[in-house]
Each structure stands twice: as C-alpha cells, then as structure tokens.
C-alpha cells in the first residue's frame, strides 16, 4: 500500500521540480540555446556611435612631447627586453626564493617611509597611523623590514607617492611624460618620483650605516627588485596602438588614485 502511494507522489514531486525553474527563465530554443542577446536593449539604428564617440574623446590626452615620448617608449621597450628582464631572470635563477622575499620586503619597508610622509602631507590620519604601525612593527619584529608581520596582522601596505600628494593639493598632471627606464608618467608625477627617491634615500633607521641606499650595489638591487615586483610588460597589450592605450589608462588611473 505504501509503495502504491509512493510512486505517484514521487512522480508528482519530480514533475513539479521540473516545472518550477522553467517558468521564470526566458525562452530556450529547441536545441538548448538560450540566446543571451535577446534580453539586451539596443540603441536605435541611427544613433549607434557611442563607442566611436567615447573612444575618440578618450584619445585626447595632453601630450606635447609626443615624438620624444614615443622614442623613449621604444627605447624602454628594448632596454626592458634586452637588459632589465634578462637581469631579473638571472637574479631569480641565482637567488633562493627565501632571500628574494626578504629583499622585496626590505625595500617595501623603506617605501613605507615615503608613504608615511605623503599620507601626512595629505592629512590622511588613519592611513598615517596604519603606516606608522607598519614601520614600527616591520622594522623591529620584522628585522629591519626583511619580514612583513604587519600585513599578517591585518595592516596591508597602502602606497602614497608625492605625485599623489601634489594632485591632492590641486596640482594638475601637466604634460604626459614617458620617463626613461621608469615608463609612463606625467610632469607632476615624474617630479613626485624624484622627491620620493630623495625621501627613501635618506632613510637611515637605527643609524645602521652599512645599509645606505646610495651605494651602487644597493641601487642595483633596488632596481632589480622593483622590476621583479612590477607586473607590467611592454608589448603586453599586443597592439600597434599600445602607446595610446597605456597613455589613456595611466592618466585615468592616476586621477583615480588621487581621488581615492
């Protein structure tokens, strides 16, 4: 008797389970195709130039030094491919991962000093306090920054550079610049970069004389580590118009970083 009841009720249940989801979804073709484009709203036929208009507008970036910028872009591309990246590969091949990570952390700790200065200059209280805590923790427990216990404790690094500080106080970006070796920037941000280097170079914590940023091996290690930790590759966009695309994205990204 129980069996006799079970079968119809099971059938009913399965048919219900099948019926339910279908009622909400858009129509599906016989061959199972869901036709995802059928739900989209399209512009009327004579007004379909949003892409062109938007893109052509976006190409307008103030770039008075364009010819020289383009030469430097190509120079950087070659230098990267022929010198910098092979050096980084060699460095990674020789150096154990453990040592590489210590080096990266060490330089990140030094970057926190300029980050702190810029956070203060932008009157960002919370960020200044976070960065101060990071420096204190990482320089002591983290053995001069070789380890990064602060991130593990929930205070991740938040970079602030002098270009952002200038932007915060209303300095416009100025002309777009392709810096030799350093890549895309602007007059304002390029200047900021110099100030930040000066700040980081003068970091001489605990009067630890043997670690000075001004020596050649130290600068070389800094450069290699910086390249290693930067994901950007020339040619990555794989487009004959890479220069234009980078120019737009970098310009917009800086605006956002400053606004943030």
């Amino acid at each position: 008797m129980v069996k006799n009841l079970l079968l119809p009720s099971l059938l009913l249940a399965t048919s219900l389970a099948h019926a339910q989801p279908d009622s909400e979804k858009p129509a599906v073709d016989d061959d199972g195709f869901k036709n995802p484009l059928q739900e989209l709203k399209f512009r009327p036929g004579l007004d379909q130039r949003v892409f062109e208009r938007s893109t052509l507008e976006a190409l307008e970036v103030y770039d008075p030094f364009e010819p020289i910028n383009r030469e430097i872009y190509h120079f950087n591309y070659r230098f990267d491919e022929w010198v910098l990246l092979p050096t980084v590969r060699g460095y990674r091949w020789i150096t154990p991962d453990f040592v590489e990570d210590r080096v990266t952390n060490f330089f990140n700790n030094i970057r926190d000093f300029s980050g702190l200065m810029n956070s203060l200059l932008q009157l960002k209280v919370k960020r200044s306090m976070d960065t101060t805590a990071r420096i204190l923790l990482n320089t002591t427990i983290g053995v001069l920054g070789a380890w990064d216990p602060a991130t593990k404790m929930g205070i991740p690094q938040q970079r602030e550079d002098f270009g952002q500080t200038l932007g915060y106080w209303g300095v416009p970006a100025g002309p777009y610049l392709m810096l030799p070796f350093f890549g895309p920037s602007s007059l304002r941000d390029g200047t900021g970069l110099l100030v930040d280097f000066e700040t980081e170079g003068s970091v001489d914590f605990l009067e630890f004389a043997s670690i000075s940023m001004d020596t050649l091996p130290m600068t070389a290690l800094w450069a290699i580590d910086l390249r290693k930790t930067t994901d950007f590759r020339y040619g990555q966009l794989n487009s004959p118009f890479e220069y234009e695309k980078i120019r737009y994205v970098v310009t917009e990204a800086r605006k956002l970083q400053i606004a943030e």
Partner: protein, 432 residues
C-alpha cells in the same frame, strides 16, 4: 532460445542506428555560480572553484622567437620592430611526453591569460605545451601570416600549421610521444581547420583535438560581437562618455594589479558591490574589447599590404610618428568594414571568390561538416548561453558531433573554461 538472440540483435540494431546524443550537463548538478552570461564572460570562475594549477616557478618554460618571413625585417616600418619574428611560449616536461598546441582566441597573444591558464592546466597533467598567438593578433599577422589578411580560415590554418612545424623544428631535442591540439573561441575554429589540414600533410597526426567555445558561423559571431557596442547603456547620453562611466571603475583595478588584460577575473568584486554593472554595460565592455581588436586587425592588414585605406601609401611610419590619426581611422572601422574593404577584395582576387554568403560558408564550421562528423578524435565543449552563438548553431553542433559535443548550461563565452568541472572534462578527453 534462438529467439532471444534475434531479439537481442534487433535491439542492438535499434540502438546503434538511433542518433547519438550530445552530453547535456544538468543545470541542477553543474554548480557553476555565475548565471549571467555577460558576467561569466568577463569575470570567469571565482578563485575557489578553479582547478589546482602548478606555480609559474614550477614550470620549465621560455619565450622563443622564430623568423618565418626573413624579408619582412627589411620591409616593415619601424613601429613593428618588436614583432618581426613570431613569438611563442614553450613549457617542457623533463622526459618524453605528449605535446599540446594551444591556439589563442580573437586578437589574443600567446601570453594572454586564457592560453596561460590552459598551459598550466595541461602542463600540470604532464604535457609539453606550446602557446601560439591567434592569426588575428597583430604579432602573428606581422610575423607569421603570409597575406596578413586574417579571416579566411583555411589560410589562417595554413599559417598556423607552418608555424607549428617551425616550432617543432626549433626544438629537435624535445621528446614528443603524441601531438594534441586545442583552441578556444576563434582558436577553436582554427583548431578544426588545422586538424583537417593535418589529415593531408600528416606532420603531427593529432591524437585528439578539442574545440572550446568555437564560433559556428563566423560571420554571425562577429555580428553578435559588433552589436554589443550598440547597446543602450544607462547613464550614457550624447554628452557623457561611456568610458567615464565604466573605465573609472576598472582602471583602479588595473593599476593596482599592475597590468591590463580584459578577460581576467576582475568583475567579481564589482558585481557584488553597488557599483555593479548591468547587462548593457557589460555587453558594451565585451564589445569594446572586440572593437579594439578589429581596429588592430584593420590597421595592421592595411599597412602590411599597402592598401592605403587607413595609412596613406606614401607615409613612412617611424618610431616617433604620431599614430593617433591612424588609430582614429582604424577605430571607426569595425569588423564588417574590415571584411568589405579588405578581406573580401583579397579573397576574390586571390581565390576567385564570390559572394559574401560563399565566404561565410567557406570560413565557418559548415564547410567541415562531413570531416567533423566522421572524425572521432575531435570534440567540442560549448555553453548554452554563449554570446557568440546564434539560433541554430547548437543544433548544427549536435547533429555534427553527436556525443562528442558537451553543452554546459552556463558560462557565457569561455567563462567556465577555468571551472573545475570543465577542466576535469578537458583533461579526461585528452586522456582518452
């Protein structure tokens, strides 16, 4: 007793003559979390549901370059110096192993994120892997393509085949047991044509060929993608810029990430926030990426063939030349424009071609129907909500591939390639 045998024989006959059905993955048990096809296309699978992949540092891999067209080094304008030789990436196992060729999708380079993902997947399973750029990518067009006018699938496959042979010739020490072939998106279509070519040239004798989300009707797929930039996007009127709306949300992500790649898992966070993009905005974004690819194709093809449609024939491009005017002109040329102005005239002149319909027939999967139907080594994985498909395409795939077609209920265009269920199925198919 004999009757039982007759009965069994009849039954067997019945079953074998019944059409073999495609494998339709059950939506209830599939478990892919993104139900919106546009979000799936852009964001792909959430990190936690991806397969376990080997670290980059555990992969023995290098980028190589081959000179396939030595004369080009003298003909090319200065701005093309990085791509005079064809680049590719090879990941090698320690001993003898099977080798997989991966063909990238529309406009994509061998180093972009999807070929990278597929490389890790197959390398982790013990294959040598070679990543190749798409014949529609600017580096391949310049360095490896004979006519630099992509779109005729047989010719693109021929270029790819020569490239593959050159790659093998460059590594005589590499011990390869068997050759496998895969491609995603447009690369899937190319893989089918390469496989067909291999039946006569017999250089590789591919053991298995896997087509991932290929277009069926190339022209219909292109029309779909072209249409995406014509969506009615909320918040964009005649005086506001579409990029101001969307790019601002994305550049923050790019900069922090340090590099730009439009099909990475970037939208996952946005889509759960109040800044979430709606369908039209996401469609516009996908369409934009395609239009940029189209612009690159139109510009590169025109310049290499001295057609003078975008770059005037007498202009000599140097490294310092302002390219923005040509970029502008190329941007207003969508794929339709490229087809009518460059592809069809070339095809008519070189192959005695005829109408547009004839071209569509020749370059789409239709022209390979018999071959695909009778080749048990070729399989297809596709999604029921793929945005590059049109009405009837799945039906064509079902009747052509039978049980060698797997249809997933979700995933958009290639969004579920890095979902664990899909990656397991991919490895399983190659394992045989």
């Amino acid at each position: 007793m004999l009757r039982v045998f007759y009965f069994a024989a009849v039954l067997c006959g019945l079953f074998s003559s019944a059409p073999v059905l495609a494998l339709d993955v059950d939506p209830q048990t599939y478990g892919y979390p993104i139900t919106n096809p546009f979000a799936a296309t852009l964001a792909t699978t959430p990190e936690a549901l991806r397969p376990k992949l080997p670290e980059d540092s555990d992969i023995d891999q290098d980028d190589y370059k081959i000179q396939l067209h030595p004369e080009r080094a003298f003909e090319l304008t200065d701005n093309f110096w990085p791509v005079t030789k064809m680049g590719y990436r090879l990941a090698r196992q320690k001993g003898a192993a099977p080798l997989v060729f991966i063909i990238a999708g529309t406009g994509a380079a061998y180093s972009s994120s999807t070929p990278e993902y597929l490389k890790k997947l197959f390398y982790g399973a013990g294959y040598h892997v070679v990543q190749l750029s798409s014949p529609t990518s600017y580096d391949f067009m310049v360095s490896a393509s004979r006519f630099a006018t992509p779109g005729v699938s047989t010719e693109d496959a021929d270029d790819l085949y020569r490239a593959m042979q050159a790659v093998r010739a460059q590594h005589p020490e590499l011990k390869v047991t068997d050759y496998y072939l895969t491609g995603y998106s447009l690369g899937g279509l190319h893989a089918a044509f390469v496989s067909k070519l291999d039946e006569t040239r017999r250089s590789f004798n591919f053991k298995r060929v896997l087509l991932l989300n290929p277009p069926v009707n190339l022209y219909a797929s292109i029309s779909n993608l072209n249409k995406l930039v014509q969506t009615e996007v909320k918040g964009v009127s005649n005086n506001t810029n579409f990029y101001d709306l969307i790019f601002k949300k994305l550049t923050r992500y790019f900069k922090q990430k340090g590099y730009i790649d439009i099909n990475e898992a970037m939208l996952a966070d946005f889509q759960s926030s109040k800044e979430a993009l709606n369908d039209e905005q996401m469609a516009m974004l996908i369409g934009t990426a395609f239009r940029f690819s189209s612009a690159d194709i139109a510009f590169t093809s025109d310049l290499l063939n001295h057609r003078g449609l975008i770059t005037p024939p007498d202009v000599k491009i140097k490294k310092s030349t302002d390219m923005t005017p040509y970029f502008r002109r190329a941007l207003t040329c969508d794929f339709d424009c490229y087809m009518t102005e460059q592809l069809i005239p070339m095809w008519r002149a070189r192959y005695d071609g005829g109408s547009l319909n004839q071209l569509i027939q020749d370059v789409s999967l239709y022209s390979l129907k018999d071959y695909l139907h009778n080749s048990p080594k070729i399989a297809v994985m596709h999604n029921a909500d793929d945005i590059i498909l049109s009405r009837g395409d799945l039906g064509f795939l079902r009747s052509t591939f039978g049980d060698r077609l797997t249809v997933y209920p979700l995933g958009g265009h290639c969004g579920n390639l890095n979902y664990r269920v899909n990656s397991d199925a991919m490895l399983e198919f190659f394992r045989g």
